[in-house]
Structures are given as structure tokens and as C-alpha cells.
């Protein structure tokens, strides 16, 4: 934007000078130059507007596209965009990369020594049963065991709730549970520390992940729909990460994951799996139910 620039003479201009607020005094320029620059800037602006509009169309979810324009226009736009490589497959890959990037930011922000904010019992709010499908019938409770695998010992441990309650110290905490949907609830939880279980049954060397699974989860129609989440071991080792057995001082009710659920208050609620039936440690990152359905994977708050 340097108007005194002469052809064939390029001067070095400092960053501060380049960024300097334009001088408000009028300058007299050849009309042809004004026209050429105006044309150039408007062409640039139009190109930008087209790229932005095209980019928007590319990024829109398919279901959202269905509600806009006519089918013929949609087809025309889609084939035009596919010609420059902006197809659905690329869109999914790109947006999933955005999710991974945001997860990486969350992981970088995580500190194992940072405590989660706790509340007093007078601040407790109602906690709804947010089972994704139907709430399981309590008949799974009498035969319930926790299977722990991926251990250094090479064994597969099966623990009953009585064994867990008898062997490990119970801890209380009043923390907020954050749902990915936006609501949150402050509740009083009690349970054993995940870190204590890790200490008692050490994972295979090099293990960085735990896959927590509930085989008793149901879909909306009441059919079996096993639920599983991946938890990184730094999160599992946090002193406020509980394998909760109690809610409001009483044994966990079925709708909140009896007899054992995860309470990782530094993770989204969807990681706080209910009615855990197995824990498997692994070196590789395990599958995650909601990640397979388009949500993030690390879910650190």
C-alpha cells in the first residue's frame, strides 16, 4: 500500500511501518492506478466470497443440505465441488482432523496435578438418568463382576463388588458432571480411586490406555448395545477419578450405573460410563463408542 513506491525500486519497510494506521491526508493518484487497484481488490473480494460460499456448502452436514436449494441445484453444486476435490469423504476427513486438533489442545492443557473444582453438599443439583438407550433391568446385579485384563501379571482378574468395597478405601467428592449436550449437574459421589486399582493390578508395560466397557447397556428399543469408552491412563491416575459406587451417600442406583461407574470429572459425561463390566489396559488406543459416532475422542474438559 506504499503509494510513493517507484517502479524498479523496492525498499525494505519495517513491519511496524507496514502495519501503521493509514495517514488520513488525501493523496493524488493517477486515475488509471486507482481503477486498476479497485478492480484488483474487488476481484479478490469476489473470489474470497465465492470460496467462502463454496466452502460453506462443502462443510454443511448432508441432512442440512437437504433442506436448502433445489435438488437440481444441489447436484450441480456437489458435482462442481467434487471436480475440485471438495467431496464428502474429504469433508469428513478434514472435520475429523479438526476434532483431533481440538483433542490435542485438550490433552496439552491437561495437568495431572490440577484439581477439579469441588462444591459443597448444599450446591447439589438434580441429576437425570441420561442412559443413551433404555435403562438396564436390575437382574444383572447379582451375577455382576468386574473383569480386569491387560495386566502385567498376564492374568485376567474377576472382582465382585464386595471385594472392591472391602479392599479399597472409599473417597467422597462433590463435583460437576458436564454433558456434551450442554447441561451439567453437581452430585455427591463416593467410590474407590481408579489409581488404587491401577496400583493393585498393574497394567502391562507400555500401556497408555484403558478400555472400559459395559456389556449390560441397552439401545432405545431395549436390545443389547454394549457401551465402551477409551480412557487415557494419566486421567485414570488422577486422584479425583473414581470408580464410583455411591451417589448421595447411598449405593449407586441402577439408573446411575450400579454397582460401579466411572467418575472422571475432567472428562465429558459421555466418558463416565455406567455399570462397568470390564476394564482392559492396552498400549494402543482402544475404540470409543461416541468417537465412532462423530464425537471427539479425548473429551478432556
Amino acid at each position: 500500500m506504499d503509494e510513493t513506491e517507484r517502479p524498479g525500486e523496492r525498499r525494505r519497510v519495517s513491519v511496524a511501518k507496514r502495519l501503521a494506521e493509514p495517514d488520513e491526508s488525501p493523496v493524488e493518484l493517477p486515475a488509471s492506478k486507482v481503477r486498476a487497484r479497485t478492480r484488483r481488490d474487488f476481484l479478490f473480494w469476489t473470489a474470497g466470497a465465492l470460496v467462502a460460499a463454496g466452502g460453506f456448502w462443502w462443510l454443511l452436514p448432508d441432512e442440512t443440505r437437504e433442506r436448502h436449494l433445489t435438488p437440481a441445484m444441489r447436484d450441480w453444486l456437489d458435482s462442481l465441488e467434487a471436480r475440485v476435490g471438495a467431496d464428502r469423504l474429504r469433508r469428513e476427513r478434514f472435520l475429523n482432523r479438526v476434532l483431533t486438533f481440538d483433542d490435542d489442545v485438550a490433552e496439552a492443557l491437561y495437568s495431572p496435578t490440577r484439581s477439579v473444582r469441588t462444591y459443597s453438599r448444599s450446591e447439589i443439583t438434580p441429576l437425570k438418568n441420561n442412559y443413551n438407550g433404555a435403562t438396564p433391568k436390575p437382574d444383572y446385579l447379582p451375577g455382576w463382576t468386574l473383569t480386569v485384563s491387560g495386566l502385567a501379571s498376564g492374568r485376567v482378574e474377576r472382582l465382585t463388588i464386595a471385594e472392591l468395597l472391602g479392599r479399597f478405601a472409599l473417597h467422597d467428592q462433590v463435583t460437576r458432571l458436564f454433558c456434551v449436550e450442554g447441561w451439567s449437574a453437581i452430585a455427591w459421589w463416593g467410590g474407590l480411586r481408579f489409581a488404587d486399582l491401577l496400583q493393585a493390578y498393574s497394567p502391562v508395560s507400555g500401556a497408555r490406555w484403558a478400555k472400559l466397557e459395559s456389556s449390560v447397556n441397552l439401545d432405545a428399543a431395549g436390545g443389547p448395545d454394549p457401551y465402551y469408552v477409551s480412557i487415557d491412563l494419566p486421567t485414570a491416575r488422577h486422584p479425583q477419578t473414581l470408580l464410583a459406587t455411591h451417589l448421595s451417600g447411598k449405593a449407586l442406583p441402577v439408573e446411575h450405573g450400579a454397582p460401579l461407574r466411572l467418575l472422571a470429572p475432567m472428562k465429558l459425561g459421555l466418558k463416565n460410563i455406567k455399570a462397568i463390566t470390564s476394564i482392559a489396559y492396552s498400549v494402543e488406543q482402544p475404540a470409543d463408542y461416541w468417537n465412532e459416532r462423530g464425537y471427539s475422542r479425548y473429551d478432556g474438559l
Binding site: L19, E21, V27, E28, V98
Partner: protein
């Protein structure tokens, strides 16, 4: 464009450079990014609206935004479509789009922060922020501008003279307040956004908004404030004329003498 210029190859034109290239770039880049943030944000909001009321027995709605959609669309009785989704379908990505909306919201949020950071750095290093700093006389000046805008149309209809208050600086007082408020609003949107996104690791930020719910409420209302700003902004640019619009594209204005008594 102009015949006189074509006739004379040596013709000159007096211009005044009004907007730095970085300001123009930030301005136009913000437009689609903000649009994307609002569209995806509405679909996230739908999943659990923070401004809720007890169930309305007639509509089954607990959400003021859904109510607004119902009120605007006036659904004919017996229609199958969910009238509560009207607003979310038109201004958002639609209902039941949470996973897709979240990904898009993060994309646009990181773009928004990048553009905002570039703008802030440019303004800080180049001294452009000085034109936005409030002055002692701005409150009275802003009221005078408001009075001018509100009376401009009636005065025109009554064919009465209605002089523009004199402007002695780059922006008039109302503009100065609005153009300073926008970056600050952006900062508030980013701060409340991070407070909601990372309330555990950034718990000091969450505390700044009292709690998580506070951050959610503020974040929602920054969206409303942005959307509200756009309306008078566009109306006034159209009213002010082509030169104003062009100056945000090319940077320069042909109004060298100052149209409103500017020196």
C-alpha cells in the same frame, strides 16, 4: 467507470486511505466465520438450551428460541413438521445435529481466534487502536448521532434540514463505541467459550463467569449481541453509500474533504 478519466490518460484522482489491508481482511474474514459460529452454535444450543422455562402445555416447548420459531412461523394446525425447530432449521444446521455442529464450531472458533489475533496484533503495532479509543465527549456525541439517525427519515419526509453532526476524527462517536465494542465482544465470546469448553483445566476462567452456567449464558448473549450489531451496521452502510462499502474492500475513500465537516 468515469468518462472524464477515460478521456484524459493523465487524469488524477484524490483519495484518502481509510482502512489498512489487515483491517479489511479481518473484517471480511470475520463475516463467514461468525456466520458459521452462529449456525453451528445454534445447533449445539438446541441440544440443551440454557435459557429455559417450564413446559408450555400448548407447544411442549421449554426453550425460548423454539418459542420464537413457533411464534414467527405460525404453524398451521396439524402440520407434521416440528415448529420448535423452525429457527434452528433456518439459522442453524438443524436439530439433532450435535456431533456435526461441534466439529464445525471448533473449526470456526479456531479461525475466529486466528483472525482476531491478527487484527489485534496489527492494531496494536500499527497504532490503529487509537482511532477506537473512547473520548470524554463520546457519550454526548453518540447521543447526538443516535438522534441524527432516528430523525433522518422523518426529516427527509418533512423536507426539513437535518444536518449531520460534525465529525472531526476518523469515526463518529457512535462508530467509535461500536467498533471498540466488537473486538471486546469477540474477546468475551472467546473467553466464555473457553470457560465452557475447558472448565476444569481453565477453572480460573470458569470462575470469572461465576460458574459453568454463567459462561453458557454469557456466551449465548454475545451471539445475540453480534447478530444485533449486524443489522444497524448493514443498514447504515447502505444508507451511507457506495464509497463506504468500497473503502472496506479497496481501502480508500473518495471523500477527501470529509463529508461531515471533517478536517
Amino acid at each position: 467507470m468515469r468518462i472524464a478519466e477515460k478521456e484524459h490518460p493523465a487524469a488524477t484522482r484524490k483519495v484518502v486511505v481509510r482502512h489498512h489491508a489487515l483491517v479489511r481482511l479481518a473484517h471480511w474474514a470475520t463475516l463467514p466465520v461468525l456466520f458459521g459460529l452462529i449456525a453451528s452454535g445454534l445447533s449445539i444450543y438446541w441440544a440443551s438450551p440454557v435459557n429455559q422455562h417450564p413446559v408450555n402445555p400448548a407447544t411442549g416447548s421449554t426453550d425460548y428460541l423454539a418459542d420464537l420459531g413457533i411464534w414467527i412461523s405460525h404453524p398451521p394446525p396439524g402440520t407434521a413438521a416440528d415448529p420448535g425447530a423452525w429457527l434452528y432449521d433456518r439459522f442453524g444446521l438443524g436439530t439433532f445435529r450435535l456431533a456435526q455442529a461441534l466439529r464445525l464450531h471448533w473449526l470456526f472458533a479456531y479461525l475466529f481466534m486466528t483472525v482476531g489475533l491478527l487484527y489485534a496484533i496489527g492494531l496494536a503495532l500499527g497504532g490503529g487502536y487509537k482511532a477506537l479509543l473512547p473520548r470524554r465527549s463520546d457519550l454526548a456525541g453518540a447521543l447526538a448521532m443516535l438522534r441524527y439517525y432516528l430523525g433522518a427519515v422523518p426529516a427527509k419526509l418533512l423536507r426539513r434540514p437535518w444536518p449531520h453532526p460534525p465529525v472531526k476524527s476518523k469515526y463518529n462517536p457512535l462508530q467509535r463505541i461500536a467498533y471498540l465494542a466488537m473486538p471486546l465482544l469477540g474477546l468475551l465470546a472467546v473467553a466464555s467459550g473457553w470457560a465452557m469448553h475447558k472448565p476444569v483445566q481453565l477453572k480460573w476462567l470458569e470462575r470469572l463467569f461465576v460458574n459453568y452456567e454463567g459462561a453458557r449464558i454469557i456466551h449465548f448473549w454475545t451471539m445475540v449481541a453480534f447478530a444485533t450489531f449486524v443489522i444497524p451496521h448493514v443498514v447504515l452502510v447502505i444508507a451511507d453509500g457506495w464509497d463506504t462499502f468500497r473503502s472496506m474492500v479497496t481501502g480508500w475513500s473518495y471523500r477527501v474533504g470529509g463529508r461531515y465537516g471533517r478536517d
